[in-house]
Amino acid sequence: MLLIRCPYCEAERPELEFTYAGEAHIARPADPSALSDDEWRDFLFIRTNPRGRHFERWRHMHGCGRFFNAVRDTVTDKFAMTYKAGAPRPSDEEIALAASSVKEARP
């Protein structure tokens, strides 16, 4: 069972408290009617499904109830960082920094 850090509660909690909510940074288009069928299909169904670093949404369902974003490795399952909904996709440097500070916090 994973430990997940809720960026709103600012605390690590067991996976039991959370629900997964799909890939992150897929914003609902402001005007869906302006999209072609193919563009709308891509928004609905097409996901990156990477091997490795994945940006994804979680919800602290049995806690504060907030949705937030996370960077997790799909091979090792390890979380590099979590951050609040609406925050921009973190850069490689930010992810590396966060991952190393997580390591320091839990030697």
């Binding site: 949404r57 919800r59 609406g86």
Partner: protein
Amino acid sequence: MSNFRIAGKGRVNRSRQVRFSFDGVDYTGYEGDTLASALLANGVHLVGRSFKYHRPRGFLTAGSEEPNALVGTDRGNGRFEPNTRATVLEVFEGLKTESQNRWPSLTRDIGAVNDSLYMMFSAGFYYKTFMWPKSFWNKVYEPFIRSAAGLGKAPTAPDPDTYASRFAHCDVLVVGGGAAGLAAALEAGRSGASVILCDEQTELGGSLLSEPAAEINGQLAWDWLEDTNAALASMPNVTVLPRTTAIGYYHQNFVGLCQRLTDHLAIVPDGAPRERMWKVRAKQVVLAQGAIEKPLVFAGNDRPGVMLAGAARTYLNRYGVKVGNRVVVVTTHDSAWHAAFDLAKAGVEVAAIVDVRGTVPTQLVSAADALRIKTKIGWTVTGTKGRLRVSSVRVNPVGAGGKVGGAETIACDALLMSGGWTPSVHLFSHTQGSLTWNEDGQMFLPGRGKEECRLAGAGKGRFGLKAAFEDGAAAGAAAAADAGAGSGAEPASYHVEGELSFTGVTGRELPTDRDPGHAKAFVDFQNDVMAKDIRLAVREGFKSIEHIKRYTTNGMATDQGKTSNINGLAVASDALKRPIPAVGLTTFRPPYTPTTFGTFAGYNKGALFDVTRKTPIDGWAEENGAVFEPVSLWRRAWYFPQVGEDMHTAVARECKAVRTSVGMFDASTLGKIEIVGPDAAEFMNRMYTNAWTKLAPGRCRYGLLLGEDGFIRDDGVIGRLAHDRFHVTTTTGGAARVLGMMEDYLQTEWPDLKVWLTSTTEQWSVIALQGPNARKLIEPFVEGIDLSEGAFPHMAVATGRICGVPTRLFRVSFTGELGFEINVPARYGRAVWEKLFEAGQRFGITPYGTETMHVLRAEKGYIIVGQDTDGTLTPDDAGLSWAVGKTKPDFVGKRSLSRPDMLANDRKQLVGLLTADPKTVLEEGAQIVLDPNQPVPMEMVGHVTSSYWSAELGRSIAFAVIQGGRSLQGQTVHVPMPDNVHSATITGMVFVDPENKRLSA
């Protein structure tokens, strides 16, 4: 019966005799015995029949890795368990055990005919034999395989035991309480860290329990152990858990421990849990799991009386039991020599030590000479004899170039073998830690880890007590320091006298002068896999160890190959002519040893398996004879049978009451969400298909919710209480899902909207009063609301008081009759219900359940989301286009409704069905075809979604989804069922009062 107990040896309590039985024969043992040691003390070696060939089998090991000695255990009071390993089962007064996989008896077993047919049952037997003819599969092959499959009898009575579970957190978790684990726990404990030390055995000590002669820092091993136990017990920061197996190691140092609490007790205290699952989150983990001895692979290595040398040594030193009167030792490793020495010193005749190696450390040979034990160095074992117990062993010299010379036969009643030791890296592997092959030690050792974890002692190839102690101490100190509790002090050093010698080689089958293709040389004892099976698999083209494992089933039994994996790998490597690391190792998976389902289930069984949600009115329904049905997590009154009524009559009576006078229904389970805020209407506009801006406060509207893919997700009546406040209802099962979906959009897509969402499902009790007399009934009890048709028409909502308590009163109907849904604060629900029930007597008020509700709504053509829809229906498919706000620029799912597939005219559409025979009630889920005479498989064009007997109409009614259904109105379709093909006509969905006159009566 002979006695194999040796005076003055072992740790069993000689002052506490216990009686137990095996296969109906009574035996005595001592407190501290396992079933294995107690049976061996009585001279019993034969304890089971092997899985495939039904070969007689005895004890191979003295630990949890045992593949052979599996027994059925009856602990009384319905406590029966199959496949208990006799080597870990503690005996107690009254324990009953039985052997398995034999008929009619253990000594005469019909199934043993398989053994003579062994050439037929080769690797892949099942794949090759049961291929054809295809028609044989269901009738012949499957029943045959099923009756032969499985080991042991499944218990027939429900498990009477309870099981506990708990979470725990610690700085350092030490797995394994042998030399390394004890040293680690001592260091970590002394540093002040919080420590959990677990060990699967009855008592701590590991191999020290079998090494009474070793001296540690000047103390005899068992004295040192006693002091260490006391030291650990005196540390309040250390929790010691014996009889506790670490079964799985998961992400972020999460380790599952199974603690056995009562299996060893003759009398189980009332209510005591049998086992407890510890879910431990440790900052640091030290794995000190030790090592498991490997058997040697030679013909006849599986007879009762053939066992691992280390096991024989444990039986002697720990339990005071000699495993035979005349033993032979065969080995490729030094450690077996020590078993021979200990047995000889205890007065057992050691007929010979056969060492397959060409050279052996000289001190071992001189020690053997001193004990007058004959040694045969550079000899091999090529066979054994003895049907139910080994009686002799056939040995041959191996000359230069591997040539096997003439055989000699040595009589014996026990044959002890050792092919070296395999470090237990199971838990480390659970975490995807990599393993590297150590060529010198011929073993896999832990490589790069993925967790905050250290290994220590024999579990990482550091054999010998001093190495284990010092490795463990270093690991414990470092773990404590990394957990933030370290003192920085140097770990303790250990001085050990009486170390064993630990060199040896590991290899494939022993050399033989006979045809290896016919040798019954077992690799996997539990699954009856022989070396020749693995070679056959390789000849048949299998190259990957993962495939070889599955084809031969090597390592796939309940022992997960603890004694067989490395031997199997060595044989496969030899057959493939590739080095062992290139062949690879199969993956270890949790649990480490077989674990009861009860432990995993814990408290979650019976009434605690799942939540049963009950409404405030549930108690009244129960007292008034309701039959209940589960609806999502709720239990709901299904119908209220009166004396002598079956469901059919009860539902017909309830339906009639609603249509002619008044019925009452507990609708409290409806999901309810309060949507409040300046942007509440805008939020509603975006979420639901309908338009909400113009809905006046005090009015309700049927709301339809889609997913972004355009398919119906939920529906419900929504009341606008004020400009900025909506009372949303959802389906009973959809409440949490809908709120979650709303939260998702609000938090992540439209965080700018000023709206607050609150679940109010359990805050309101909802009483539906339905029927022409509904208004007359409640009028006298309502304050502050004008109930007249003009002031409070269908789809109106108002707040006021009823029976003196606050209410949100809805004028709504899910029956087609004049009706109200009375929301009152939950705590008043039952009182208001009872008051109205009493007052309604003059109208013959009738409580009704969900079945009647279903019939009444179907008569009116109202759908139930989740029954009539299945996640593939659009609003148009369901005939609900009228609920879609066409002029709204956007709402969730709108864009999808114009995708080409969603506009196709052959989509499945919801329609009504009337059967040709009015008495036929179709089966829900039944498939529909257009031409009943077409060849099978027929083209199915849809299925029945709802089907009932309508008392009102005196006939059956149904809904169905049918391809292009709405354009087929009036056409006949067919419903093939096992008994008959029913025909039916496609109709509209409204069967009763299509003009909605009754709603406004």
